[in-house]
Each structure stands twice: as structure tokens, then as C-alpha cells.
């Protein structure tokens, strides 16, 4: 029998731990907010943040730590909600959004340790040329289409697409090397 691992917040929520519900909000609101606000604007982002947490609370038992870390799961759920919201609003790209400048780093926020996948992604991104990182930021954080990125950066459309593809393939290969396929399953055991 391997070492007993600590339950994730979502696993605790699924077992009815009310303290974990509060901790989940404290832990992930800054991340969910950052994902939503950048692509939807502040007003719409508030609704989406609430939708995300309601969905997480009610379906916490569906989180599978074998597939991804909790932080990556929460970010995935937030990204899906943001994409759905943009579709509901009949808005694909972000071109019609009010101009939302990037927020200044807030030293008052507690630093959250990056999850394993994000650390691997950070490592892979550090090896990419600056222009390629910028294209990925515009595509993923700002949600711009390839056409919009080409216009914004003055890069040919084909170059934008290859930057996105090659950059993410690079991250995927680093993730595959560093993350066990059965994420955590082979070295941790549920109590």
C-alpha cells in the first residue's frame, strides 16, 4: 500500500465538508476571475465566476485527480464557461469587448503554488521565442482569433497558426514527459 495522500478540496466538497467549500472559493476565485474578466469584461465575468463555483460545488464528485490536477480542472471548467458565454452572447472573438487592460499584479494576494501541469507549461514556455509566447498569450488568455492575432501583431496568418500549433505541441511534449499518464494514481492512494 502506498502513502495516503491528502484529499483535494473538490474531493472534500463532494464529501460534504463545508470548510472545503469556503477554501475552494478562496483558493480559486482569483484564477477564475482572471480567466473570465480578461475575455468577457468585468460585469459578465461576475456572473460566470458564480456559475463556475455553483457547478463545482454541485458536481465536485466528478473531479478525477487521475486526469488532471485540481487547478487545471478548475481552469478548464472556467474556460468552458467563458467560451459558452461568448457563444450565448453571439460573440466569438473578443473584438467587441470593452477594452479590459491587464490587471496590475496585486502583492496583497497570497501566492498560489502553480500546479504540476502549469509548472511544466511554464518551463516549456520559457524556451519559446518571445513572439511565440506573445501569440499564445493573445490566443489563450485574451481569446483572440488567429485573424485578430495576425492583425494585432502584423504577423502573417500562417505564422500565427504555426506559432500556436508548435508552441502548444512543445508544451504537450513537456507535459507528457513530466506528468504521469495516470496523474498521481500510481504514487498516491486514497485513504
Amino acid at each position: 500500500m502506498g502513502p495516503v495522500r491528502e484529499l483535494t478540496l473538490l474531493e472534500r466538497v463532494s464529501r460534504g465538508d463545508s470548510e472545503a467549500v469556503t477554501a475552494l472559493v478562496q483558493e480559486y476565485t482569483p484564477v477564475v476571475w482572471a480567466i473570465a474578466r480578461r475575455q468577457l469584461g468585468a460585469q459578465c465575468a461576475e456572473d460566470v465566476v458564480q456559475e463556475v463555483f455553483l457547478a463545482l460545488w454541485k458536481n465536485a464528485g466528478r473531479f478525477d485527480p487521475a486526469l488532471s490536477s485540481e487547478a487545471t480542472f478548475v481552469a478548464t471548467v472556467a474556460r468552458r464557461r467563458v467560451i459558452d458565454q461568448r457563444r450565448r452572447a453571439g460573440r466569438g472573438p473578443t473584438s467587441e469587448l470593452p477594452d479590459e487592460p491587464p490587471a496590475e499584479p496585486d502583492p496583497g494576494l497570497e501566492r498560489v503554488e502553480l500546479c504540476e501541469e502549469a509548472r511544466a507549461a511554464e518551463t516549456a514556455l520559457a524556451d519559446l521565442p518571445g513572439k511565440q509566447r506573445e501569440v499564445l498569450r493573445l490566443a489563450i488568455v485574451d481569446g483572440l482569433t488567429h485573424v485578430e492575432i495576425a492583425a494585432r501583431t502584423a504577423l502573417p496568418l500562417g505564422t500565427v497558426k504555426s506559432h500556436v500549433r508548435r508552441g502548444l505541441e512543445r508544451v504537450r511534449s513537456v507535459l507528457a514527459r513530466r506528468i504521469s499518464p495516470a496523474h498521481g494514481r500510481d504514487r498516491e492512494e486514497r485513504p
Binding site: 460534504g16 476565485t29 484564477v31 460545488w57 486526469l67 468552458r80 502553480l114 499564445l136 498569450r137
Partner: protein
């Protein structure tokens, strides 16, 4: 640049822009696909370790939502 590089793999396209089927899009907690994990990890890495501080009134809204939902949380 090869011709194939001008087209993103379908899984990557979905991870960036969502599923085309509205019914699939209605379940935000479905298991993550491989490219979704990659894109979410990059998103987290680009946001950094801090995220952004939400407005104070959102904290209050979440607290109210939590209070009204707590009895229904499994």
C-alpha cells in the same frame, strides 16, 4: 511551414474555441480532453501564480451564493 501546420488538430481547435455542438458545450464538467489540459496549463502559467483580485462585492455575492446553496451541496 508545411501545409498541415496551417490546420490545428481538431482536439486543439476544440480546446481553444470550444465544442461546435451546443449539447456537448452544456456540460462544463465533462472529462477534460488532452489538449484542454495543455491549454488550461498554459493559461495558468501565463496568468501566473497570483491571478487577479476580484472586486469585493463579488466576494460577497459568492458568500451569499454559498450560504443559499450549502444545503444542496452534496
Amino acid at each position: 511551414m508545411t501545409r498541415s501546420e496551417l490546420h490545428l488538430p481538431s482536439g486543439l481547435e476544440r480546446a481553444l474555441h470550444g465544442k461546435r455542438s451546443p449539447s456537448a458545450a452544456s456540460d462544463p464538467l465533462r472529462p477534460a480532453e488532452e489538449w484542454e489540459v495543455v491549454v488550461a496549463a498554459v493559461h495558468l502559467a501565463l496568468i501566473g501564480t497570483l491571478g487577479e483580485r476580484p472586486p469585493a462585492h463579488l466576494d460577497l455575492k459568492l458568500a451569499r451564493l454559498q450560504a443559499s446553496s450549502i444545503t444542496r451541496i452534496p
